[in-house]
Amino acid sequence: MKWLRHNAINIYAGVAIAYMLIPIAVIAAFSFNDPEGRYNYTWSGFTLEHWENAFGVEELTDAMVLSIELAALSTLVATAIGTLLAMALVRYEFFGRRPANFLIVIPMATPEVVIGAGLLSMFLIYPFVDLGFQTLFIAHVMFSISFVVVVVRSRLIGFDRSLEEAARDLGASPLTTFRTVTLPLLAPGIIAAGLLAFALSIDDFVISNFNSGTTVTFPLYIYGALQRGVPVEVNVLATILFAVTVAAMVFTIWQQRRAERMAAVRPEEEVEMLPATPAVRPAPGGFGG
């Protein structure tokens, strides 16, 4: 009984984690399904057929390629201008800081339907571009910027500026300092922000649905296929996408750890950091534990 009381929260956490992962397992499992009808909802036998045919559904593959292109392009732009925004907000005092901050936060606090509907309203009244890849690109960059700023800013706040000063003292020009000191130290944050922007873009359905015209992205293809039955290949591609993103994520974490080790060069800082790192100690308190 005592054991149960002490571990109740761990068991609870385990169940919660399982809850989060079960749908992913279902998606992967159903990529091996051999459905009898058009609908891939009931398990009716194991087959590798759809994995062999992973890129065989032309419309689906096209949509996937378009989504990847769109995500890559919008990530590139959003990460660049978002990083500049974060630099300005963290490193400079300037007039108009509060409104700038507000403008960056508010899109994150706006429901996606409203963002999508707003953009469509503008494109309807003032059709300076046709609905399609261009409008999707505009929308994806727009909703990614705020998230990029948040991620890069958190990295910049913990930035040790004395490293830059040292570079300047040793005769480096501002540009060289930026290129050889600032950027490498900032890189993990920028990469993390880029990954987030990419994930947001490739996953976006609601805003894209409003502004796509006849262009079909991966999520839009799935939505369109719902009525006539989603092909099993969708599960295959989703599983591949999941595996690739996981790999990218693991790589980023590894990079980040390496950069942190590189950054922690000053001995007195290392000593100071030690007690602050959360040690593995007997659990302090808990729910009545």
Partner: protein, 287 residues
């Protein structure tokens, strides 16, 4: 030095221009649309038609109420699931911490729609889960789980859960362990230390998490569409349908504005109630 003072504006320029052109300006156009009158056949005309707002609100008030009720319940469920989980990850996980955090964000790596379709599979009439739920009496009178309010709320809860876990985890992680130790040194019991020290210190994470969950949930329409039936339509479904299918733009635009205003009002009231320092934490840190 003038140049140095201009640097931040150069850095801000591209981003702010993008946000103004493609977020602020669209809101202006949506505002214009919401005040137009006419129909798709005769064309729309800008006539300061303020009655659009009252008409659309009274026509779709059930969907508004439903959206806020569903989103509210889903947010509460998220909180109940997320807090203990975040606590366990922050204080009990030890070397498993990063793996668990990874599991928390793993759902983001599969497409939102596919995740929701996976719940369709799990909750479909043939599924074993539904048999179990039916056996313990949770499935309702028609022995179904899908196309009920419960399935929509379950979908919302699942899809927005990481938004609750991550901020709570971040605020728990930041707590100075010595404060909890001090409480214990001063003879508080473990539960007293939790209620009096840990929980108040993690309040900013709870506030941020509830906002990050509630706002998208209230505007969501994917869950209601895939896991619900006509009777579970949320306001997002209405806006989407009016914009893209019926093409009644003035009504749709005014509904969008009402939704935004209601959410903003809810957020303001909530922050008043929860204390503003919770949200301003980040600002204070930088200052």
């Amino acid at each position: 030095m003038i140049r140095r003072r201009l640097i931040p504006y150069f850095l801000l320029g591209p981003g702010l221009i993008w946000l103004i052109l493609f977020f602020v300006v669209p809101m202006y156009y949506m505002g214009r649309l919401s005040l137009e009158s006419g129909s798709l056949l005769t064309g729309f005309e800008f006539t300061w038609e303020w009655s659009n707002f009252s008409d659309s609100l009274s026509a779709y008030d059930t969907q508004f109420v439903r959206s806020f009720v569903y989103a509210g319940i889903a947010t509460l469920l998220c909180l109940v699931i997320a807090y203990p989980l975040a606590y366990a990850i922050a204080f009990r996980a030890g070397r498993w911490k990063y793996l668990l955090l990874f599991a928390v964000i793993a759902p983001f790596f599969t497409t939102y729609l596919i995740r929701t379709i996976a719940w369709q599979t799990i909750l479909s009439d043939q599924s074993a889960v539904v048999d179990v739920l039916d056996a313990i009496g949770l499935a309702g009178s028609n022995h179904r789980v899908l196309d009920e309010p419960g399935s929509v709320i379950a979908g919302l809860t699942y899809n927005f859960l990481p938004f609750m876990i991550l901020p709570i985890y971040a605020s728990l992680e930041r707590i100075d362990q010595r404060l909890i130790e001090a409480a214990k040194d001063l003879y508080s019991s473990a539960s007293q230390a939790f209620w009096r020290v840990t929980l108040p210190l993690s309040a900013p994470g709870v506030v941020a998490g509830t906002l990050l969950t509630f706002i998208p949930a209230a505007g969501d329409y994917v869950n209601a569409e895939l896991l619900g039936a006509q009777g579970q339509a949320m306001i997002g479904n209405v806006i989407q349908g009016l914009y893209l299918n019926v093409r009644d733009y003035p009504t749709a635009a005014s509904l969008s504005f009402i939704l935004m205003a209601l959410i903003l009002a809810a957020v303001v009231v909530y922050i008043r109630f929860a204390g503003s320092e919770a949200l301003m934490g980040e600002e204070a840190e930088r200052a």
